[in-house]
Amino acid sequence: MNEEYDVIVLGTGLTECILSGIMSVNGKKVLHMDRNTYYGGESASITPLEDLYKRFKIPGTPPESMGRGRDWNVDLIPKFLMANGQLVNMLQLTEVTRYMDFKMIEGSFVYKGGKIFKVPSTEAEALASGLMGLFEKRRFRKFLLSCTTFDEKDPKTLEGVDPKKTTMRDMYKKFDLGQDVIDFTGHALALYRTDDYLDQPCLETINRIKLYSESLARYGKSPYLYPLYGLGELPQGFARLSAIYGGTYMLNKPIEEIVFENGRVIGVKSEGEVARCKQLICDPSYVPNQVTKVGQVIRVICILSHPIKNTNDVNSCQIIIPQNQVNRKSDIYVCMISSAHNVAAQGKYIAIVSTTVETSDPEREIKPALELLEPVEQKFVSISDMYAPTDLGTESQVFISRTYDATTHFETTCDDIKDIYKRMMGSEFDFEEMKRKKCDIFGEDQ
């Protein structure tokens, strides 16, 4: 390893693996190391189940009812892929999708007045939904049509509204939408975690609604996709891409020191050897002095032996509990997957509850979500700090990723990747950069 590299990457989380792939595809010489014996860092899926018990310091071993430990791949961070989102675009451009199989998430639900309602995915479902009254449905339909036909390049498409100036609050007023519809639209369709967006220009919200409805249109039941064997497959797939383009991979490497010269990174020391580099990418855990805490997320992994009540026994779903339904500032999310996704033993379900921590008693904050899941066979609670870099890397050439946030999709992760790319390369990220640069598929599928 005592060679000269263009880029050294520390940590094999999704952000790091995608960046490593982009760099290798573009001809950079990359060394990618992780202190752990497994891929994925914080975005790993833990297997076997015994390792999850150990990680959360649950005494004893999993009971026999949990089946074979190897049948489990439990995500530490719950997220789904938006079917028309940026990560799917990246998977397709790089053809990393060849390494994975996906399933659709079967339904999306929203919490209102102590009950859960299906987020309508068809017009017929919308008409039958108990989420809003008949007249509201008509107004909502008009609003939705207006959003989905909106073209950013043609300002005339939004009925005279300037999307960069008009706030979302005013936009709702214009369409005469009531509080229930506003809550539902902002939190279950635009997927905002707080109500801060109301006073922002409406452009971002409209784009989010478009992303939701375009994602929904792709596969039908919900806008979300999930990879078989868990989210941990994603970093592994991009690491393979990087390796095919010459990236060198080392796991189980203790990182002793990041070596600087005149304030600029020149290498990384591991097991007494120094690998030299021009630029460094890493997750916050490798540079605790160059990051700052920006919040906390609570995540509770729950193992169930039954599908969630009132979801029509779907094998996978998302439930959004909008903040004002439970007197909070940020939404609570539940992501559920099951043995159908090769992440749990036969007949078992994994529901992960997550939200941004707002009080000193975070476990109490997520109680309304846990009540929807009863009875819970085993709980694994984590409260983790979120970090953001204090050093943008301009001088040091050290580029630090952000901790995965409480959102239930990968859009913010992709924004972080694009931002790091821009800081490293000095130019805007273009998805075309990810396209494979040579023919590396042989045989009949060329």
Partner: protein, 194 residues
């Protein structure tokens, strides 16, 4: 004729000829200067076996075996694993046992294993006796074959033998449990003119 997709993964130390074996099988060519670290992302070849078509989806290590950093994804869903050693290098045969162990740990339970002694064209500098390797392969119920990717010896035979050993009906891989691949085109295609 029924088409079955069979994932095959390659294992073995760096430089034993894993990529060369696949090159010979898929493209029927040999490049002595094949880049050691850069693999191909995906290689396929379909062959007929009795009344079935077997489409081999062959995964190369992409160099991730060098520092033992192969991901679990690599082994996932494999119908067969080809573990390669170099008959002219004793140490590549001794580490073979580690690859078998690794495969038992991460691979599917019923995977077909093929032990392959490559570079059999270099018989005069041989360090591994054919009998020793054959005995070991028998002891773990694996296929055994000596190959030369360079001279195209036993390469097709290796894959025919794999086809023969694959259980004829694969109950564990019924389509119900399977997911789908993401495609470029949306599944709901809009009507477009011409």
């Amino acid at each position: 004729m029924a088409l079955r997709e069979l994932k095959v993964c390659l294992l073995g130390d760096t430089g034993v000829g894993k990529s060369s074996i696949v090159w010979r099988f898929v493209e029927d060519s040999f490049d002595p200067n094949i880049n050691p670290t850069i693999g191909a992302s995906f290689m396929t070849k379909t062959v007929q076996y009795q009344n079935e078509l077997h489409k081999f989806l062959i995964w190369d290590t992409a160099g991730q075996e060098r520092f033992r950093a192969l991901a679990p994804m690599y082994y996932r869903g494999s119908a067969a694993a080809i573990i390669v050693y170099d008959i002219t290098k004793e140490e590549t045969f001794s580490t073979l046992k580690n690859w078998v162990k690794e495969l038992r740990q991460h691979g599917p339970p019923n995977i077909v294993v093929a032990i392959t002694g490559n570079k059999c064209d270099l018989n005069d500098v041989r360090e591994v006796l054919e009998k020793d390797a054959k005995d070991y392969a028998d002891s773990i119920h694996a296929i055994f074959v000596e190959t030369s990717a360079k001279n195209a010896i036993n390469i097709n035979e290796l894959f025919i033998e794999i086809s023969r050993r694959i259980p004829s009906t694969d109950a564990s891989l019924t389509s119900a449990g399977k997911g789908f691949k993401l495609r470029r085109q949306p599944s709901v295609t809009k009507h477009s003119c011409c």
